[in-house]
């Protein structure tokens, strides 16, 4: 997860002042902060207990000073982007709803969730909310119809997941190829490079061309799951959540690099040969 944005502290101070006395002028100090979600594993097993000093981050080849790295107690903003096109009707719909419920059940008190559904129509089932009952209700009320705007919906998921608090986790589910989107895959990938969301995608059935979802998940540091059977969809959703919870949130204030353009990232754990999964970079400006 990567972003350049105002610091969390500055925003919370301003919000607090405004709630007390809106007429008092307030000032916020903006500084840029990059956040990266990092999964560290050793032979497939998550490595926990690392501290800021354990991480090495190169931004366009320039070593950065890590300010913050932790893996627990960071609220998750889970955005479910679910295919509700006609082909989902029937057994698959039941599996999908069930998987959504299971995932929502596993969210914690401070976590929030949102629901974006799509056929050719991209629709907001629920905004980001900690009222998970509302999200479940929205999930149960959607009926499948129409064709597939996977790319448009993925874009909507990235935007809905934008938030200054918590870690945005976008889970995209689809069983078909895009047939109706206006946006192109490349344009959404461009947005993904500017987003701090981590996208996981689940594709039911072996589709002929998974390039878009593969690129989207790769660019955001997530993963693509291709499932033959949807009977175990709940388990897949849970494994995504579990993996996401094991990730470290690494933050730094970039220095020694120009602000605009593509920033290639390299993340390592100091002195150890461990597997790292993180986004390959981020984009700022035009």
């Amino acid at each position: 997860m990567t972003r350049v944005r105002p610091a969390l502290l500055a925003i919370s101070v301003v919000a607090g002042v405004m709630s007390m006395a809106a007429q008092i002028p307030t000032f916020s100090v903006k500084r840029e902060e990059v956040r990266i979600d990092v999964l560290v594993t050793d032979h497939g097993k998550p490595v926990l207990g690392l501290a800021s000093a354990d991480f090495v981050v190169l931004d366009n080849g320039v070593l950065q000073q890590i300010e913050f790295a932790r893996s627990e107690e960071i609220p998750i903003n889970a955005v479910l982007v679910l295919d509700m096109s006609a082909s989902v009707a029937g057994e698959l719909l039941g599996c999908l709803r069930s998987a959504g419920h299971v995932l929502l059940e596993e969210l914690r008190k401070d976590d929030r969730a949102a629901l974006v559904t799509f056929s050719h129509v991209v629709a907001l089932g629920s905004t980001l909310t900690s009222d998970l009952g509302q999200v479940k209700k929205a999930l149960d009320s959607v009926e499948p119809f129409g064709s597939t705007s996977l790319i448009d919906a993925s874009y909507a998921g990235l935007i809905v997941g934008r938030t200054d608090f918590g870690c945005p986790l976008v889970i995209v589910f689809s069983d078909g190829l895009d047939t109706s989107s206006w946006l192109t895959g490349d344009s959404v990938l461009d947005t993904a490079k500017r987003s701090d969301a981590v996208v996981y995608a689940v594709s039911a059935g072996r589709l002929p061309n998974m390039t878009f979802l593969r690129d989207l998940t790769g660019l955001t540091g997530g993963s693509l799951f291709e499932v033959e059977s949807t009977n175990n969809l709940s388990a897949v959703f849970l494994s995504i959540l579990d993996e996401f919870r094991q990730r470290y949130l690494v933050t730094y204030e970039p220095h020694g690099v120009s602000r605009e353009g593509w920033h290639q990232l390299e993340v390592r754990v100091r002195g150890r040969k461990l597997s790292i999964k993180a986004r390959p970079g981020y984009l700022v400006g035009r």
Binding site: S85, V121, A123, F145, S147, D152, A156, L177
Partner: protein, 444 residues
């Protein structure tokens, strides 16, 4: 589930020296036709099924039985043609749709030969067997015209192709193979025999099909109709012949352009053919170039064809020539009066302006599209994305909020972008009805 794209496919095979060679599976029917023609006229006017002379009594008896068989079949076909009501799933449709493939081809080949005889034997005395078999009037025979029977026959086979799927499964051995694609996967095969038979009959129209407006009307109406059903494979086969007959017709050139534009779209490009086969279309850029070529020819044939300018502008932009695309789109935009087409023009102009980095002009066009169709999500998504491209992350949200507060139900979410692939044939039903009316008015 996505809507299906039916594409003609070809098989990869190894050629001489082990080099990959592409064998297009489209010659089967034509080869059989040639073979039939060779044998059809043996024995003069006797319609024998075999080409060997009958020497022995048993051979002669067999030849007589064959001739009678074909006479019966021909009579059955001619009666069905005469009785068929255009667009109706009547007994005529059911009867002929139950004919085995060999009988269908045999009958049509004989009809064509008889029609040729009528033409070549103009001014012959009325009352021949051929006249009887085709049910022609004395006047028709004297003027060498069997067109009425050929056209009514084509109408019958057209209606069988369109109406008989419920009563007769598609032929599996039809060549070229046309497949149905759902969600990028092949789910079945389509029959195309009756389309081909209709075309074969129209090929024999006198003096030549290319000078016959009804034939042209048939090609335009049927192509529009199958394109509207997303039967791109059938449309491709139809258009191949249409183009050979009417190479300079603006509408047929335009329909060809749309076909290739569709083949360039991700829905076609990302589809998965059956194992061992490949689709009978090329990679994206090749298809776009072909589409552009056809649209260019269409606007050359008919400069006052704004919809062709619109699509020419779009594919030109997709090929990366944005300035040229904008010029074409503006030309279209100035002439378009249809709201749906104006919407496309605005969307595409916005897209091209964005590609050139003209964000204000792009925003203006996307806003115009959003005004034309306030419940359409595409221009709002475009506006949101445009803000992001400008490096204004905060600006992405307002347009997205507009998308997410649009009505959820499909019926109230009118976005013409979703039907762009068939927008050019939104009058397909009317075209088909008009064609059926004209063909149906021919005497029985």
């Amino acid at each position: 589930m996505t809507e299906g794209v039916a594409g003609r496919i070809s098989r990869d095979s190894k050629g001489v020296g082990g080099l990959a060679r592409r064998t297009v599976l489209n010659g089967g029917l034509a080869r059989l036709l040639v073979a039939s023609l060779i044998v059809a006229l043996v024995g003069g006017t006797v319609l024998s099924g075999r080409g060997e002379p009958a020497h022995t009594p048993s051979q002669r008896a067999q030849a007589d039985r064959d001739a009678q068989y074909w006479l019966d079949k021909l009579e059955e076909w001619r009666t069905a043609v005469a009785r068929h009501d255009p667009g109706v799933l009547d007994e005529a449709v059911k009867t002929i749709s139950r004919f085995p493939m060999s009988d269908l081809r045999g009958v049509v080949n004989r009809v064509k030969e008889l029609a040729r005889w009528v033409v070549e034997s103009r001014s012959h005395t009325p009352g021949s067997l051929e006249q009887h078999w085709l049910g022609l009037t004395d006047d028709e025979v004297q003027h060498g015209k069997a067109n009425r029977v050929l056209k009514r026959g084509a109408l019958l086979h057209t209606d069988i192709a369109l109406l008989s799927s419920d009563i007769w499964p598609p032929m599996l051995n039809y060549d070229p193979m046309v497949v149905t694609i759902v969600d990028g996967r092949t789910v079945g095969r389509e029959g195309g025999t009756h389309w081909e038979l209709a075309r074969l009959l129209l090929d024999s129209v006198y003096p030549q099909p290319s000078s016959d407006e009804m034939v042209r009307q048939w090609y335009v109406a049927t192509t529009a109709y199958v394109q509207n059903l997303h039967q791109w494979g059938q449309a491709q086969t139809n258009l191949r012949r249409a183009l050979a007959v009417f190479p300079l017709d603006a509408t047929i050139l335009f329909l060809n352009g749309v076909l290739h534009e569709t083949f360039a779209a991700p829905e076609s490009q990302n589809a998965l053919p059956p194992p061992g086969f490949r689709f009978d279309f090329g990679p994206e850029r090749l298809e776009l170039r072909q589409a552009r070529q056809f649209f260019q020819q269409a606007v050359k044939a008919n400069p006052g064809f704004p919809e062709a300018h619109l699509r020419l502008g779009r594919v030109t932009g997709l090929l990366g020539n944005h300035d040229e695309a904008i010029a074409e789109l503006r030309k279209a935009d100035a002439a378009l009066t249809d709201r749906q087409l104006q919407y496309y023009a605005a969307l595409f102009l916005g897209h091209e302006q964005e590609a050139l980095g003209h964000t204000d002009a792009a925003r203006e066009q996307f806003e115009r599209a959003a005004t034309l169709y306030p419940n359409a999500q595409s221009p709002l998504l475009a506006l949101s994305h445009l803000a992001g491209r400008e490096g204004d992350p905060a600006g992405m949200l307002p347009a997205m909020k507009r998308v997410l507060t649009l009505p959820v139900t499909d019926a109230r979410r009118e976005d013409p972008w979703w039907s762009y692939d068939v927008a050019h044939v939104r009058n397909a039903e009317e075209l088909m009805a008009a064609m059926r009316k004209v063909f149906g008015e021919l005497s029985r």
